[in-house]
Amino acid sequence: MDPFSGEGELLTITTAFYTHAYQSVLDYDTSALSSDNKKTAQTLKYRAQIALGQATAVLSSLKSSKDAASRSIVALAQQNSGDSSAVETAASLAESDPEDAVVQICAGTVLAAAGEYAKAIELLNKHQGSLEAVALLVQIHLIQNRTDLAVKEVAAAKRWAQDSLLINLAEAWTNIREGGSDKYQSAFYVYEELASTPGTTSPTALVGQAVAELHLGRSEEAEAALQQAVALENVNIQAIANSVVLASLVGKKPEAVQELLQQLQEKDRDHTLLKDLAEKSQAFDTAAAKYSAKAAA
């Protein structure tokens, strides 16, 4: 039986992982699982730890492990703690153990995060029915603005795993990118369902819901969802980032927007939005310097 399917015993932990409820992943009691699943669950727990920013803990617990899977997890942890050797490790693992499912995912993530999209795609394409690999591929395609490929990937995966949460999410990602009210709406449904189902309500689900609503032009509802997300977990970075977007979108006072940006700055200095804005601010100044009035006042 497919351990990730709706019937499997890993359902709860994987669902939590996919919806970024990392603390629930860590808290999940794995003692009752079969040994195979236990291993998978442990991998998920390591990855959750990394996502929570506890990379060093993972590094120390995997210090002595030499198998490819563990090394790929180590690489992921290293990357998160800012160690640039991670990409090399990942690349070499992709050469040496491209068939290992864990390596595919972890090394693939490392490569994708480092912008090595071609290598990441090459590695991930070797997957054997791994939904996570599909999800990663979809995201990489979207990053590269190849919505067409992402849609294809989702469509292919839906043939064999229609019921999977991850595929539903991946479809939501492509839908939001593709746009049109129907697609936005269907993405909205995916997130709304997640957010309203007891046990799977996570800030990520709410943020997804808010983003879909934002694209649907329902800014009030989006704001409510974002507030709910922040209320659930006040350090949710994506919720704050999207709040910035929302505030600008509805034309709030500049002070309010600045305050949100400040918050984001405190929580995650390296957020895409901030980096992007800093870059644009720079570009603005450079461009603006080219112009001046013929006469001074």
Binding site: A113, A135, R177, G179, E193, T197, G251, A297
Partner: protein, 1216 residues
């Protein structure tokens, strides 16, 4: 099945046409009157001797008639509960009796082979019809015409014409029953002729005796039932009648039959223990019902509603032929439902409009069997319908986008199952009772998983996201589909329907007589019981459940508090509550809107939620006063709130006492002024330590003792002294003594003893207080000496207690008597009067400020257009030529298969020649190029916030895979365009926001004299519009007008601010004064809205007047008067005008202001530019400058270069 009674064999039945009553005549000689709704026996009538076979209600009068084996026909009143009279004449068993629908006639059929017509008003036999040559089993009037049909064991059915009889007896029918009774004795029965009723047709076809016959309510049809086990259908015309067809199926004698009152159906019952339903048109069996042991003898139909009754060996059953509950589903503001003719329709609650038929489901299920449930899936816009036919089927059907009238569904997926509901966007659950299996299916109708339902499950229902409610006769189970796990179980029996609250947090489980409210984890919140059957329920947005019973709409709060909202004439199925409207479907599946008064439950809800503001609102605005609400509040422990409602002093007093509000209590006590009231008040006040009130009540009650004691307790010596005086006046010695004790006044005590001749005591008192003189005096008075008396050892004299705290000065509160928050809210409302209107004036206090914020007089509009002298500059290039396109890529260039594609931001920049779109795309460089070319924009740093605002609003961040940054998505201007060549970004702070928010803000800054803010606001509008887009050509004009207006306001405010700066600098030189006067004059020049211009004019007028510039003042005054407006303003202007004229209307200082010339004000130097003088203008906002300012940055928009060559701002491109 509605109702079932147990009794001996039921032979006759009659429904009351209006009330939920049924008469049952029994083989045991009893007649029973039942309320079938409540299931109670109302009455019994026992006067017949032997079986009673015929029975009928009168349509309008409180009468019924019965006929029995005692040959008697009896007419009864159910009001007086007795037999009024008996009609004798038949010579054998009476089989049936019926009232005529309008004439005062009774028709009877008897085993004496005759059919007779009786007049029940004069109690006479008016016609006897002979012709049958065996028992006449049944005879009925035609519902409209003068016809009778009869059935007999002689195997024939006869139709009789009684028009002759009617002519003869066209007695007025409007005479009341009582009158007729009075007159009855005078009339006599004279008819016994046969010509009154003639046989019209004899219908032969039954092979055995015929037991029953009936006319069709509207068509010329007759149905008969016989011992040959057949039901026969006959048709007649004016001249003949013939057999149409036969319904075969009964395998024993058929006892009775009838036509369905509204549908093309025949119903029959027989001794084979079955009820059978036949299709009138096809004469085929539609349905049949078999009873285990009881033969059926009679059947009756309710004349109005869908109810039938059948009498059998052991009683009566009342039943519905079909389910009347329409299948429906509500999604947001839409109701989807299935009509009686099986069309799917929708109803829009916001528009109150019914759609045309969306689909016809006629082919679904069998004819005559309504569909059971409908489940709607908004994501796919499809419906799931179940039908009970073929032991349960379901169909999944996609609804068409538009209602195009009744079309048959095209894409249908079906299967068998008894219940089916959507459980998720792309999943539904199907349950089959036979297998007890719940299957989860996807939209292609293939099973993705299945599980066994708990034993005895009868139905399933939606259970919240990802969950199902499984309903068994005794339990409800909450089941998680994903985990295949039972999450919770609750013992509620007989649940039939589930209604979820709008927020999905609560559900109401409806069973026949109970409503159980549970939360989404299936924990019971409250439950209530109704004696009347519960039909439906729906939730108010505020979390109040409204439910309908057979005859009421009621509400219940989550805490179980319930009450009646309104009564119902007909049963309805609630679907939605919105404000004061309840939307429901009636039994004919027609949407109806009922109005309700939600005040009561809203109030109670507010009470529960302690939302005092809302309560206050309700109290103020509604007439919610009544004993019930008061007692409710009192019961719930809110006497202080109840207090707010009550006028009646007695009740108010009680409530005030209860909540310890002594002020109100005192007030009411004064009004009532009864000793009992005062006593209670006193007691209560004492508990509160409010001795002042206590004192007052004692005074009122003239309770001197207590009063004295109170003064003693509170240490009020002065009043104590007064009390003793009063006691003296009253001659009350005990009281005097007591008071004297309290005040420690020995002398007065002695005095008193002496007065009442108690010298020994007086002596003793004097002695013990060491008053030897007094002792001597007493002794002398008594003529005794000290030796002559023997006395006990005197104790110490009584010393008066000292007052430590002067309690009497203030109350000594011993009980918390704070105002409840509700009262606080009540009190607070006075202070709430927000002084929003207290704006500071532009000039000084005595100039009234026009309140009209956006008063845009028509003439002023015209002004604005006139003032728009840069129309040419902006010249919109609507041809869409590409000269302005920057960064042109090949939009459809082939993209490498594996390489990255172009982002949507790039596409935006590619698609649009508008600067704002380039900004959103992050292509600042090209945006600046565009703006520079269009409006000569040069100082971009002022636009940076605007650029960043647009850019920040362009992208969202969607979290995706772990440890990867979020996916970036692009916010679009329009939702539905997906063609990449039409994609454009969303631009925040659009024209609408600017006009409705920012502009108003600017206006209010003007009104309230906050010019520093105002100038910023208007400048922001200018800058926001500079980088913006609009949707239409009309909006382009609007935008132009807004730019012009903002420019004028910015200019005006800048001028005035400049003047104030001068004034503040305190430059008193003539030069300085002159400049100030000039500036104040220029302030009146920009084209402001009239109301605002008046302010400027008034300011200029006052300034001029106060500096003796009478000529200028006069001209301003004239302009104010010309504009008119607020009277106070006009008056002031008039006054100024008069004085200025009187003072010679000349200026003391010559200023550069020609009141008669038309000029613009230079936005840099604030000096006039008279027409004809060369000037330059800002290419964007059109502000004018003296020629020497060419090349500088515009002072108003602060972005563009004055006099720069520019092609004009573009905000819109056709076809984009």
């Amino acid at each position: 099945m509605q109702f079932e009674s147990k009794s001996s064999r039921a032979k006759g039945l009659a429904f009351h046409p209006k009330r939920p009553w049924i008469l049952v005549s029994l083989h045991s000689s009893t007649i029973q009157l039942w309320d079938y709704r409540m299931g109670t026996l109302i009455d019994r009538f026992e006067e017949h001797d032997g079986p009673v076979r015929g029975i009928d209600f009168h349509k309008t009068q409180p009468l019924f008639v019965s006929g029995g084996d005692d040959y008697k026909i009896k007419v009864w009143s159910y009001q007086t509960r007795r037999c009024l009279f008996t009609l004798n004449g038949h010579l054998d068993y009476v089989r049936t009796v019926f009232f005529h629908h309008e004439l005062p006639w009774i028709l009877s059929a008897s085993d004496d082979q005759t059919i007779r017509i009786w007049n029940w008003q004069n109690r006479s036999l008016i016609c006897t019809m002979t012709g049958h040559n065996h028992y006449a089993m049944c005879a009925q009037f035609h519902p409209k015409e003068d016809l009778i049909v009869s059935a007999s064991l002689d195997q024939s059915v006869r139709v009789w014409d009684i028009s002759g009889l009617r002519k003869k007896h066209s007695a007025p029918t409007s005479i009341s029953f009582e009158d007729q009774m009075a007159r009855a004795s005078q009339q006599q029965a004279d008819m016994f002729g046969n010509t009154d009723a003639v046989v019209k047709f004899v219908l032969e076809g039954h092979d055995r005796g015929v037991n029953w016959v009936a006319f069709h309510p509207t068509l010329p049809l007759i149905v008969s039932a016989g011992d040959d086990r057949l039901v026969k259908l006959w048709r007649m015309s004016e001249t003949k009648a013939w057999e149409v067809d036969t319904c075969r199926g009964h395998f024993q004698n058929v006892s009775a039959c009838l036509f369905h009152p509204h549908q093309d159906l025949i119903l029959s019952v027989g001794e084979d223990k079955t009820i059978r339903v036949w299709d009138l048109n096809k004469r085929t069996s539609v349905q049949s019902f078999k009873r285990e042991n009881d033969r059926f003898w009679v059947i009756a139909a309710h004349p109005e509603i869908n109810l039938f009754a059948a009498g059998h060996d052991n009683g009566v059953m009342v039943f519905k032929l079909e389910r009347e509950r329409p299948a429906f589903s509500v999604y947001q503001n839409q109701l989807f439902y299935i009509t009686k003719d099986k069309h799917v329709r929708s109803y829009d609650f916001t528009k109150n409009a019914e759609s045309p038929s969306l689909l016809s489901l006629r082919k679904l299920g069998s004819n005559w069997v309504p569909l059971r449930t409908l489940s709607y899936n908004p994501a796919e816009r499809s419906i799931l319908v179940t039908s009970p036919s073929d032991s349960g089927t379901y169909e999944l059907i996609a609804l068409p986008r538009d209602a195009t009238g009744a079309s048959d569904p095209t894409d249908v997926k079906r299967g068998s199952g008894n219940a089916a509901v959507f459980v998720a966007r792309n999943r539904f659950a199907v349950f089959a009772t036979s297998t007890q299996l719940v299957e989860i299916k996807d939209l292609s109708n293939s099973t993705t998983k299945s599980f066994k339902a708990p034993l005895g499950t009868t139905d399933i229902s939606y259970g919240g996201p990802g969950c199902l409610l499984l309903i068994t006769p005794t339990n409800v189970v909450l089941y998680d589909i994903q985990q295949k796990k039972q999450l919770a179980e609750l013992g509620v029996s007989g649940v039939k329907y589930v209604s979820w609250s709008n927020d999905g947090l609560y559900a109401a489980l409806l069973s026949k007589h109970n409503v159980t409210i549970v939360n989404k984890s299936l924990e019971q919140v409250s439950t209530l019981h109704e004696t009347i059957r519960i039909k439906s329920a729906t939730w108010d947005d505020s979390g109040v459940l409204l439910y309908s019973t057979l005859n009421h709409i009621k509400y219940t709060l989550l805490n179980g508090d319930n009450g009646i909202v309104r009564t119902l004439d007909h049963t309805v199925y609630l679907v939605k509550v919105k404000g004061r409207n309840v939307y429901c479907l009636d039994r004919a599946a027609k949407p109806r809107v009922l109005s309700i008064d939600p005040t009561e439950y809203r109030f109670k809800l507010a009470l529960v939620k302690r939302n005092y503001d809302e309560m206050l609102q309700i109290i103020k605005t509604s007439s919610l006063v009544g004993q019930s609400i008061i007692s409710y509040l009192q019961k719930k422990g809110y006497p202080e709130i109840a207090l707010q409602f009550v006028q009646d002093p007695q009740t108010r007093f009680e409530l005030a006492i209860e909540c310890g509000n002594l002020e109100v209590a005192t007030e009411m006590a004064k009004e009532l002024d009864r000793p009992k009231i005062w006593t209670r008040l006193g007691t209560e006040a004492l508990i509160h330590g409010n001795h002042q009130t206590v004192e007052m009540t004692y005074q009122k009650l003239r309770n001197f003792d207590k009063l004295s004691f109170l003064y003693l307790c509170t240490g009020d010596e002065e009043k104590l002294t007064r009390m003793s005086k009063i006691a003296e006046h009253r001659g009350d010695f005990v009281s005097r003594f007591q008071n004297a004790l309290y005040v420690g006044d020995v002398e007065s005590r002695i005095q008193m003893f002496k007065e009442i001749d108690l010298y020994p005591l007086a002596y003793l008192t004097a002695k013990s207080h060491g008053l030897t003189e007094e002792c001597a005096a007493i002794l002398e008075l008594c003529g005794l000496t000290e030796d002559q008396i023997s006395m006990p050892e005197p104790g110490d004299g009584l010393t008066k207690p000292d007052v430590i705290v002067q309690t009497y000065k203030a109350n000594w509160p011993v009980k918390e008597a704070s105002h409840s928050s509700f009262e606080k809210a009540l009190l607070g409302e006075v202070g709430v009067a927000v002084d929003e209107d207290a704006r500071s004036d532009l000039l000084n206090e005595d100039i009234p400020v026009p309140t009209d914020g956006n008063g845009l007089a028509a003439e002023d509009d015209a002004d604005a257009v006139e003032g728009w002298d840069m129309g040419d500059d902006i010249g919109l290039d609507t041809t869409g030529n590409d000269s302005d396109f920057v960064n042109i890529d090949n939009p459809d260039g082939p993209v490498e298969a594996a390489g990255p594609g172009s982002s949507e931001a790039d596409i935006w920049a590619r698609n649009s020649p508008l600067a704002a779109d380039h900004v959103a795309a992050g292509s600042f460089d090209s945006a600046m190029q565009l703006l520079n070319r269009q409006v000569g924009a040069v100082r971009f740093e002022k636009l940076k916030p605007r650029f960043m605002e647009i850019y920040q609003a362009s992208k969202t961040y969607l979290p995706a895979n772990a440890s990867l940054p979020p996916i970036v998505n692009y916010v679009r201007r329009t939702l539905d365009d997906t063609d990449s060549r039409k994609l454009l970004p969303f631009i925040p702070r659009n024209l609408e926001t600017l006009t409705t928010v920012d502009l108003q803000e600017g206006y209010s800054a003007m009104r309230t004299n906050k010019l520093e803010n105002g100038v910023v606001t208007f400048r922001n509008i200018l800058q926001s519009l500079l980088v913006n887009v609009v949707n239409s050509e009309a909006q382009v004009d609007e935008a132009k007008a807004l730019i012009a207006k903002s420019m004028e306001y910015t200019l005006a405010m800048s001028i005035e601010l400049e003047r104030r700066q001068l004034a503040a600098a305190g430059d008193d030189s003539e030069e300085g004064l002159k400049r100030q006067l000039e500036l104040s004059a220029y302030f009146t020049m920009p084209k402001l809205d009239v109301s605002h211009r008046q302010l400027a004019l008034m300011a200029a007028m006052k300034l001029a007047f106060s500096h003796k510039q009478f000529s200028s003042a006069l001209s301003f005054a004239n302009r104010v008067l010309a504009n008119g407006g607020a009277s106070k303003l006009v008056e002031q202007a008039k006054k100024v005008k008069q004085q200025a004229e009187r003072s010679g209307s000349s200026d003391k200082i010559g200023i550069e202001y020609d009141q008669f010339a038309d000029f613009d004000v230079c936005a840099a130097s604030y000096t006039p530019i008279y027409s004809g003088v060369q000037s330059v203008s800002c290419p964007y906002d059109g502000s004018k400058y003296h020629i020497q300012y060419k090349g500088q940055v515009c002072n108003l928009c602060q972005v563009c270069e004055v006099g720069a060559a520019a092609s004009g701002l573009r905000l819109w491109v056709k076809g984009l």
